[in-house]
C-alpha cells in the first residue's frame, strides 16, 4: 500500500463530506460575488432611478434586490459554517484512519529504519508531515469555491460585455499561473529553512551534551553565541521564505485591483449600474482565489511531507515468515550452551556490547551469524516475531509509554486480568507504590513515566517483562537506581518468581545482589569488541 492509494481511498470514503464541503464552498463563493455585485448594481440603479424623479423611483422594483441582498448575506454565513464543518469533519475522519495505517507501516519497516524515527528531530518531522497530509483534506474544497466564483463572476461580468469578462478571467488565470510558478520557487527557501532547523537542533544537541567541558573551559558564552548564530541563520532563511510568501499577498491585492478597474472601464458602455456590478463582481471573483494562493505557498512542504511518508510505506516489508517457536528454546551464545530455565549473567566492561547483544536477541538490530543459536537454529536467521516470543525484555532505559500503569503493563499482555497485574507488580516490589497512587493502576504517568522516580520506572519496566509470557527473561540493568534495601527485595522476589515459573534469566547487571542469582556467567565481549583505535 502506498500513501497515495491510502489518500485516494480516504477521499473516496470521505466523499460525502468532501462533496458537502465543496458544495458549501461553491455556495460561499457565489454568494460573495453576488452579494457585492448585486449591492453595487442596486445602489447605482437606485441612484439613477432616484435622480430621474419620484415616478421612476416609485416604479423601481426595490423589493426583490434588497431581499436578495439580505438572503445572500445569510446564505454566505451558513455555507461558510457548513464548509468548515464538513471539511474539518473529512480531515478528522481521514486522520482517524491515516494515523493507524502509518503506525502499522512503521512497525513493519526494518527495525533500524523504524527505530531511527524515534529520535529527536525525526519524530518531530514525522508528526509535522502527518499534520501536513491531514490538513490537505481541509483544503480540498478550495478549487470548488474558485470554480463557482469563476462561473458566477464570468456570468455577471458578461453583462458588461465579453471584454469585461475576458479581462476578469485573464486576471484570475494570470494570477494563478504566476502563483503556480512562484510556488516552485518557494521550495528552495523551504528546504533552506529545514536545513537551518536541522543544523540548529544539531548544535543544541552538541551543546546540551557537553555540559562538563563548557563549565571547565568557561565556554558557556561561546556556546550561547554558537546557538544564537545557528538561530540567526534559521531566522534569515525564514525571513527569505516569508519574503517569497509575501509576494503571493501582493499578487492577490494587485490582481483584485486590476480586475475591478478593467471590468469597470470595459463595461462602461453597458451603463453605470452594470459597470458597477461588473467591477465589484470582478473584484470578488479574483478575491476568491485567496485560499488557493495560500494553499500554493504550502505545496512544496506538502509534497516533501508526502514523499517522506511514502518512503516509509515503501520501506515496509513483510518480513521473513515467522518460524514456529522452537519447541526446546535452549540457547547457545558463542558456543556456550544453556538449557531452558538457566540463569545467565552477561558480564563484561561497559561498552563491550552487552546491550547490543540484547537488542540483537530481540530482532531490533542485526545479529552476527552463528553467534547465537536457539533450539539449534541460528538466531540471526529467525524472524523478529519468533525471537520476540522467546524473550521478555526489561530495557536499560526502562522505556515506559505515555499512559497509565495499566497501559504500560498491558503492552506485554493485552488480556491480563487484574490479579495477574497485581501479581507482577508485587514480584517487582512495586505493588505498594502503585496502591499509593491516586488512581492506582489507572494513574496517568506522563511521558516516560515522569510521575515515577527512576527506580520506580525501572521496576515497572521489570513488572512488564514479568507479564510477558516467554521462556526467557531478558533484564538489562534492572537494579540501577535502586537503593540497597529495594535492590535486595527485588532480587529476592525475582528469585522466587523464577523458581515458580521456571523461566530462564539473562541478566545484565553490575549489582552483585542481582548477579548472585545467576549460576553461570558469560563474558559478552568475546569477539564483540570493536577495533576503536
Amino acid at each position: 500500500m502506498t500513501l497515495h492509494s491510502l489518500i485516494a481511498a480516504e477521499r473516496r470514503r470521505e466523499r460525502r463530506r468532501l462533496r458537502q464541503a465543496g458544495a458549501c464552498a461553491a455556495l460561499v463563493a457565489i454568494a460573495s460575488v453576488l452579494l457585492l455585485a448585486l449591492s453595487g448594481w442596486f445602489l447605482t440603479a437606485a441612484a439613477l432611478a432616484g435622480g430621474a424623479g419620484i415616478v421612476a423611483a416609485q416604479a423601481f422594483n426595490y423589493m426583490l434586490p434588497s431581499a436578495m441582498i439580505r438572503l445572500l448575506a445569510i446564505v454566505r454565513t451558513g455555507a461558510r459554517y457548513g464548509e468548515r464543518l464538513a471539511s474539518h469533519g473529512a480531515a478528522f475522519g481521514a486522520l482517524a484512519r491515516l494515523r493507524p495505517a502509518l503506525y502499522r507501516a512503521i512497525t513493519v519497516t526494518p527495525a533500524p529504519v523504524a527505530l531511527a524515527l524515534g529520535r529527536g528531530e525525526a519524530t518531530a518531522r514525522l508528526i509535522g508531515d502527518v499534520d501536513a497530509v491531514e490538513w490537505r483534506f481541509v483544503r480540498l474544497s478550495g478549487p470548488w469555491g474558485v470554480a463557482a466564483a469563476l462561473a458566477s463572476g464570468a456570468a455577471l461580468t458578461l453583462l458588461g460585455g465579453w471584454l469585461a469578462m475576458a479581462a476578469t478571467l485573464t486576471c484570475v488565470g494570470v494570477a494563478l499561473g504566476l502563483a503556480r510558478s512562484w510556488s516552485h520557487r518557494l521550495e528552495e527557501p523551504g528546504r533552506a529553512v529545514q536545513q537551518a532547523m536541522g543544523a540548529l537542533r544539531e548544535e543544541v544537541a552538541m551543546i546540551g551534551g557537553s555540559a562538563a567541558e563548557l563549565r571547565c573551559f568557561a565556554l558557556e558564552d561561546w556556546a550561547t553565541a554558537r546557538i544564537t548564530a545557528a538561530g540567526d541563520r534559521l531566522a534569515e532563511a525564514q525571513a527569505r521564505q516569508a519574503a517569497v510568501a509575501a509576494r503571493f499577498e501582493a499578487l492577490h491585492a494587485v490582481s483584485v485591483a486590476l480586475a475591478a478597474a478593467s471590468a469597470l472601464v470595459l463595461s462602461a458602455g453597458a451603463g453605470a449600474a452594470i459597470a458597477a456590478l461588473a467591477g465589484l463582481a470582478a473584484a470578488m471573483t479574483v478575491d476568491s482565489i485567496a485560499p488557493l494562493l495560500r494553499a500554493m505557498t504550502e505545496n512544496g512542504r506538502l509534497h516533501e511531507a508526502e514523499a517522506r511518508l511514502n518512503a516509509l510505506f515503501g520501506a515496509a516489508e513483510d518480513g521473513r515468515p515467522a518460524l514456529g517457536l522452537p519447541c526446546e528454546p535452549n540457547l547457545a551464545i558463542d558456543g556456550g550452551r544453556f538449557a531452558p530455565g538457566s540463569r545467565i549473567a552477561l558480564t563484561g566492561p561497559s561498552g563491550c556490547g552487552k546491550t547490543t547483544l540484547v537488542e540483537g536477541l530481540l530482532g531490533l538490530r542485526p545479529l552476527q551469524h552463528g553467534r547465537i543459536m536457539i533450539g539449534g537454529q541460528d538466531a540471526a536467521l529467525l524472524a523478529p516475531a519468533t525471537l520476540r516470543a522467546i524473550f521478555a525484555w526489561a530495557p536499560q532505559d526502562a522505556a515506559l509509554i505515555a499512559g497509565t500503569v495499566r497501559d504500560n503493563l498491558r503492552l506485554a499482555d493485552g488480556h491480563a486480568n487484574e490479579d495477574r497485574l497485581w501479581q507482577v507488580l508485587q514480584d517487582a516490589a512495586l505493588d505498594t507504590v502503585v496502591r499509593a497512587l491516586p488512581q492506582g493502576l489507572d494513574t496517568w504517568l506522563g511521558e516516560d513515566g515522569a510521575r515515577l522516580s527512576g527506580g520506580e520506572r525501572r521496576r515497572l519496566s521489570l513488572a512488564r517483562a514479568y507479564l510477558g509470557d516467554a521462556p526467557w527473561l531478558l533484564l538489562d540493568e534492572p537494579g540501577e537506581g535502586l537503593d540497597a534495601a529495594v535492590a535486595d527485595d527485588v532480587a529476592r522476589r525475582l528469585d522466587a518468581r523464577l523458581k515458580r515459573t521456571g523461566q530462564g534469566l539473562i541478566l545484565v547487571s553490575h549489582r552483585p545482589v542481582l548477579s548472585a542469582l545467576c549460576e553461570r556467567q558469560w563474558m559478552a565481549d568475546l569477539g564483540a569488541r570493536r577495533s576503536a583505535a
Binding site: 452579494l35 449591492s39 442596486f42 445602489l43 437606485a46 441612484a47 426595490y62 434588497s66 454566505r76 454565513t77 461558510r80 464543518l85 478528522f92 482517524a96 494515523r99 493507524p100 503506525y103 512503521i106 524515527l117 524515534g118 519524530t123 552538541m206 551543546i207 546540551g208 562538563a212 567541558e213 563548557l214 563549565r215 571547565c216 573551559f217 568557561a218 556556546a223 554558537r226 544564537t228 531566522a235 516569508a242 491585492a253 494587485v254 478597474a261 469597470l264 462602461a268 459597470a275 561497559s350 530481540l362 531490533l364 524473550f391 522505556a399 509509554i401 498491558r410 503492552l411 506522563g446 527512576g454 527506580g455 540493568e477 537503593d483 553490575h510 549489582r511 552483585p512 576503536a532 583505535a533
Partner: protein, 543 residues
C-alpha cells in the same frame, strides 16, 4: 514535541509573560493600518469610477487610482509579512538566548537534560514565530483599522457609519456569548490534537518495547481508537468552536447588506424615516465598497488564532526557565577535601553517591574506580557545580568550594568536537594559547603520529561528528585540549572507555606521562588506568 502541562499556569501570568517576552513591536501593525488606508483609497477610486460612468466623465483616472491603491495594498501587505518575520526573528533570538543561558548557567542539582534544552530552545521558541509575525500585528491592527474605516465612512455618510458601528455591538455581544465558549472549546481541541500527536510521537519513540512485546497490532489499534475518539469528540467541539467565526462571517455579510439596502433606499428617496443627510451615488458607493473592509481586520485576526494557541503552549514551557545566574569563577587551590559527601538528584529515590570522604593533595592523581552507575561521573560533576551536594561539605584550600569552573580542564569519553580545524578544537580550552604551547600539548597527548599522517596536520578540518577519527584519536584531542588549559585541576571522565586493549594501553601510558604537575581526578572502571594513580578510591554498590 512540546508537552502540555496538565496544570497550566494561570492565563493572566501567561499573558503577562508573553507580553514581556515580545515587548512593544508596532512595525507590522503599522503597515497593516497603511494597508487599510489604501483600501479606503481603493473604495474612493471605484466610487469615483462608477460616478464618472453615470456622468459620462473620464473613467480612466479613477481606474488608475484603483490600480495605484491596489499596488499600495500589495506593497503594504507584503511589507507587513516581511516585517513580521523580522520581528519574530528578533523575539525568538532573545528568548533562545535566555533559554540557553538559563540551561548552561543552571544551578547545581538541576539534572542535565539535553532533550529539555532542545524542547525549550528550539520547539518552544519556534512556536512563538506565528504569534509575533502574524497574530500580534493582526490584533493591534484589529483594534484600530475598523475605526479608520468607520471614520472614512462617517465622512461620506454618517448614517452608514452608525449602521456599521451598530453591527459591531451585537457582534461583540455574540463574541462574548459564543466567543468565550468557542475559544475555550477551540483551545481544548487544540490541546487534544496536540496530545494525540504527542501520543503518536511517544509510540514511535517507544517502538523498541512495542516491537519487543509484539504489541504492534494492539498499539496500532490504540492509535486508531484514540484518533477516532478525538475525531468524534472534535466534531462536537467544532460545532461550537466555529460559531464565533460564523458570527464574524454573519456580521461581515450583514454590514454589507445593511449598508447597501440603506444607501439604495436613501438614493431612491424612499426611506421610511427622514435622515438629516443627503446621499450621492459617489458617497453611497464609497461606503458600500468600504463596508467589507470593516470586518476584514477581525477576520485576519481570527485566521491567526491558532498561532496564539501555539504560543500559549510554548509559554508554559518557557516560563519556568529561571533567569540565568552566573557563578563567579575564582582561583581554587588544593588540597580538595570532601567530607561525608552525598549526591542525590531531585526525583531519584536513592543517592548516586553517599558517604564519600576524600582528601586530594596538590599534584596528586586520584582514580575513582567503580562500575558504571556507581556515581564516578557524578563526583566530577559535583566539583563543577553540575550535580547537587545533598549532604556533607567540600573544601578547597581551606574555604568551601563552590565550583571548579574555570580552574579545571576536562577530557571525557565523548569529547566536544566542533566543525573546524583540529587547532580550533584545541584552542577552545585557551583561545590565547601560543603555538609553542599547542605543540607541547599535542606532544604530551600523543597526537603527534596522527597529525603527521593527516594532510594539513593541525589545520586538518573536522566535521561536527568528528568523522574519520577513531575513538582513541578523539580522546587524544580531548586530552591535548585539557593539557593546553593552564588550569591546575585535571578531570578525566572514562578517558579509555570503549577502546580496544592496545589503544587503551597506549592511552593509559600517555595519561601517566601527562598527568603529573596537575591535581588529577580520573573516573574509570578500568583497573589498568586506575593503576597509574597515586591513590585509588573504590566507588560502587557493594551489596
Amino acid at each position: 514535541m512540546t508537552t502540555i502541562a496538565d496544570a497550566a499556569p494561570g492565563a493572566r501570568t501567561r499573558n503577562r509573560w508573553l507580553k514581556d517576552a515580545v515587548g512593544r513591536r508596532d512595525g507590522a501593525a503599522g503597515l497593516l493600518l497603511l494597508d487599510t488606508l489604501a483600501a479606503i483609497g481603493f473604495a474612493a477610486g471605484i466610487a469615483g469610477g462608477v460616478t464618472a460612468v453615470t456622468e459620462q466623465g473620464a473613467v480612466l483616472p479613477w481606474a488608475l487610482l484603483m490600480l495605484g491603491m491596489g499596488g499600495l495594498r500589495a506593497l503594504f501587505a507584503s511589507l507587513a509579512s516581511r516585517r513580521g518575520a523580522v520581528e519574530a526573528g528578533a523575539v525568538k533570538r532573545g528568548q533562545r538566548l535566555r533559554a540557553v543561558a538559563a540551561m548552561l548557567h543552571r544551578k547545581a542539582g538541576v539534572p542535565i537534560d539535553s532533550g529539555l534544552l532542545a524542547t525549550q530552545a528550539v520547539d518552544a521558541v519556534e512556536a512563538l514565530d506565528g504569534y509575533v509575525a502574524r497574530f500580534l500585528p493582526a490584533r493591534r491592527a484589529a483594534a484600530i483599522a475598523p475605526m479608520l474605516v468607520l471614520g472614512a465612512t462617517a465622512c461620506a455618510s454618517w448614517v452608514s457609519a452608525v449602521i456599521l458601528a451598530g453591527t459591531l455591538l451585537p457582534f461583540v455581544a455574540a463574541m462574548i456569548l459564543a466567543g468565550g465558549a468557542a475559544a475555550e472549546e477551540s483551545r481544548r481541541q487544540f490541546v487534544a490534537l496536540h496530545r494525540l500527536s504527542a501520543r503518536f510521537a511517544d509510540r514511535v519513540r517507544t517502538l523498541p518495547v512495542v516491537l519487543a512485546f509484539r504489541a504492534e497490532t494492539r498499539e496500532t489499534e490504540a492509535v486508531g481508537a484514540a484518533a477516532q475518539e478525538l475525531a468524534k469528540r472534535t466534531m462536537r467541539v467544532l460545532r461550537v468552536a466555529f460559531l464565533s467565526s460564523a458570527a464574524l462571517e454573519f456580521f461581515a455579510a450583514l454590514s454589507v447588506a445593511l449598508v447597501a439596502v440603506y444607501c439604495g433606499f436613501a438614493l431612491l428617496g424612499l426611506l421610511p424615516v427622514a435622515v438629516p443627510e443627503t446621499l450621492t451615488l459617489g458617497r453611497g458607493f464609497f461606503v458600500l465598497a468600504l463596508a467589507p473592509e470593516f470586518y476584514a481586520p477581525m477576520r485576519r485576526l481570527a485566521a491567526a488564532y491558532h498561532d496564539k494557541q501555539a504560543a500559549e503552549t510554548a509559554a508554559d514551557t518557557l516560563m519556568p526557565t529561571a533567569a540565568s545566574e552566573r557563578a563567579v569563577s575564582m582561583a581554587v587551590a588544593a588540597p580538595l577535601i570532601l567530607r561525608d559527601v552525598a549526591i542525590q538528584y531531585p526525583g531519584s529515590d536513592a543517592p548516586a553517591v553517599s558517604h564519600l570522604s576524600l582528601r586530594i593533595e596538590r599534584g596528586e592523581t586520584v582514580a575513582l574506580l567503580g562500575p558504571s552507575g556507581s556515581g564516578k561521573t557524578s563526583v566530577l560533576h559535583l566539583l563543577l557545580g553540575l550535580a547537587p551536594l545533598s549532604a556533607g561539605t567540600i573544601e578547597a584550600g581551606g574555604a568551601p568550594l563552590v565550583s571548579l569552573a574555570g580552574q579545571a580542564s576536562w577530557a571525557g569519553q565523548h569529547p566536544l568536537l566542533i566543525a573546524g580545524t583540529i587547532r580550533e578544537n584545541l584552542l577552545l580550552a585557551d583561545p590565547q594559547a601560543k603555538d609553542l604551547a599547542i605543540q607541547r600539548a599535542v606532544a604530551a597527548a600523543g597526537l603527534g603520529p596522527m597529525l603527521a599522517t593527516r594532510p594539513g596536520g593541525l589545520d586538518a578540518l573536522l566535521d561536527a561528528r568528528g568523522s574519520g577519527l577513531s575513538g582513541g584519536e578523539r580522546r587524544r584531542i580531548a586530552l591535548a585540549r585539557a593539557l593546553l588549559s593552564p588550569a591546575p585541576f585535571l578531570l578525566l571522565d572514562e578517558p579509555t572507555a570503549h577502546l580496544d586493549a592496545a589503544a587503551e594501553a597506549a592511552l593509559i601510558a600517555t595519561i601517566a606521562r601527562a598527568a603529573p604537575g596537575r591535581t588529577t581526578l580520573i573516573a574509570t572502571h578500568s583497573p589498568a588506568l586506575a593503576a597509574i594513580a597515586t591513590r585509588v578510591v573504590h566507588l560502587g554498590t557493594a551489596i
